[in-house]
């Protein structure tokens, strides 16, 4: 590679890590947000499960209450 070509391409190599870093960071930001969303979703589902349990308990009580009556 003669000197002129070298100069032409002088900026490519040193700037490569920054370009990669830029796209990687952007991608990470999106991924972090998706993870945050799934964590919140899981917590909601857990609470939903707790709710269903207590509902089942109440129904159970109502049934045997109605059986006794």
């Amino acid at each position: 590679m003669n000197t002129v070509l070298e100069q032409i391409y002088a900026t490519i190599l040193p700037s490569a890590p920054f370009v990669i870093a830029a796209y990687a960071l952007m991608w990470c930001a999106l991924v972090v947000y998706v993870i945050y969303m799934t964590v919140k979703l899981k917590r909601t589902e857990a609470q939903m499960a707790v709710m269903e349990e207590s509902l089942k308990k109440i129904d159970a009580e109502k049934n045997n209450a109605s059986d006794r009556a």
């Binding site: 870093a21 830029a22 960071l25 909601t44 939903m48």
Partner: protein, 255 residues
């Protein structure tokens, strides 16, 4: 609200939700396509002159080829998407102030969350690009300061939401603040550019002169980002609505 109006709104919501994953997929495809083309199709931007010319491919090249400019193809679309998200948040803010209905406040909050994510993405990519361009981690260059202020404003929005307890008052304050933010950002955009900062004049970088082959990846990436933003917005909104329905169930179960 009459029954069938409610059902109409529900069905509109349902239809959007059914398309959300589809739009997210399209967005992913478009943006990766834009990403690839940015590195293949688009010619690199010419940098500083080089003493001598060389024949590369079919062109006589006589200056440095800037590789770092490639960040631009994602930096610009993400920036515009973040500003559109702020606009949507302000729109729902206005809608809430007119109708005082909780569903608009929730949409405003989710839109601001999306805006926050995209502003952080803009800051990351802008920081990297600028780090290579000027070799310094931070300068009070107009573009960077504008987005830094935008990030602080969105942080302020969420800090304000956390500080107010009464739901209606929180919604009103959050809506007013998102409207003021939406008006403040273009002014900040304009003032940091037009006011030559006193002693040392600002350097004007006209990087918007785009040749067609650069425009294609840019537009692809742009629409890709819009679709991703919309998809993530709908998903996040369904999570929020699920939370609200859960709260209602919990209350009914308490008594």
């Amino acid at each position: 609200m009459t029954q069938q109006m409610k059902r109409a709104r529900e069905s509109a919501g349902a239809r959007c939700d059914r398309y959300a994953p589809l739009i997210l997929g399209i967005g992913a495809i478009l943006s990766t396509l834009g990403f690839i083309l940015a590195f293949t199709l688009a010619a690199p931007v010419n940098g500083a002159a080089v003493d001598g010319t060389e024949l590369i491919g079919d062109q006589m090249v006589s200056n440095q080829l800037l590789f770092s400019q490639k960040i631009f193809y994602f930096h610009m679309p993400v920036a515009i998407t973040s500003f559109v998200a702020i606009g949507v948040a302000a729109f729902y803010g206005i809608r809430f102030l007119m109708t005082h209905r909780a569903c608009y406040d929730m949409r405003g909050r989710v839109a601001s969350e999306i805006a926050l994510v995209f502003v952080i993405m803009v800051m990351c990519s802008g920081e990297m690009w600028e780090r290579f361009e000027w070799g310094v981690w931070w300068t009070w260059e107009p573009r960077l300061t504008t987005y830094f202020i935008l990030m602080l404003l969105v942080f302020g929005y969420f800090i304000l939401r956390a500080a107010v307890d009464d739901p209606e008052r929180r919604a009103t304050y959050a809506s007013v603040f998102s409207i003021v933010t939406f008006v403040d950002v273009p002014i900040c955009f304009m003032i940091t550019r037009l006011v030559p900062s006193g002693v040392h004049p600002t350097i004007f970088r006209s990087d918007s002169g785009l040749s067609p082959d650069m425009l294609i990846p840019l537009l692809l990436a742009m629409f890709g980002m819009f679709c991703i933003a919309f998809g993530v917005y709908r998903l996040r909104l369904r999570c929020a609505q699920l939370d609200v329905r859960l709260e209602a169930l919990k209350e009914r179960l308490d008594d």
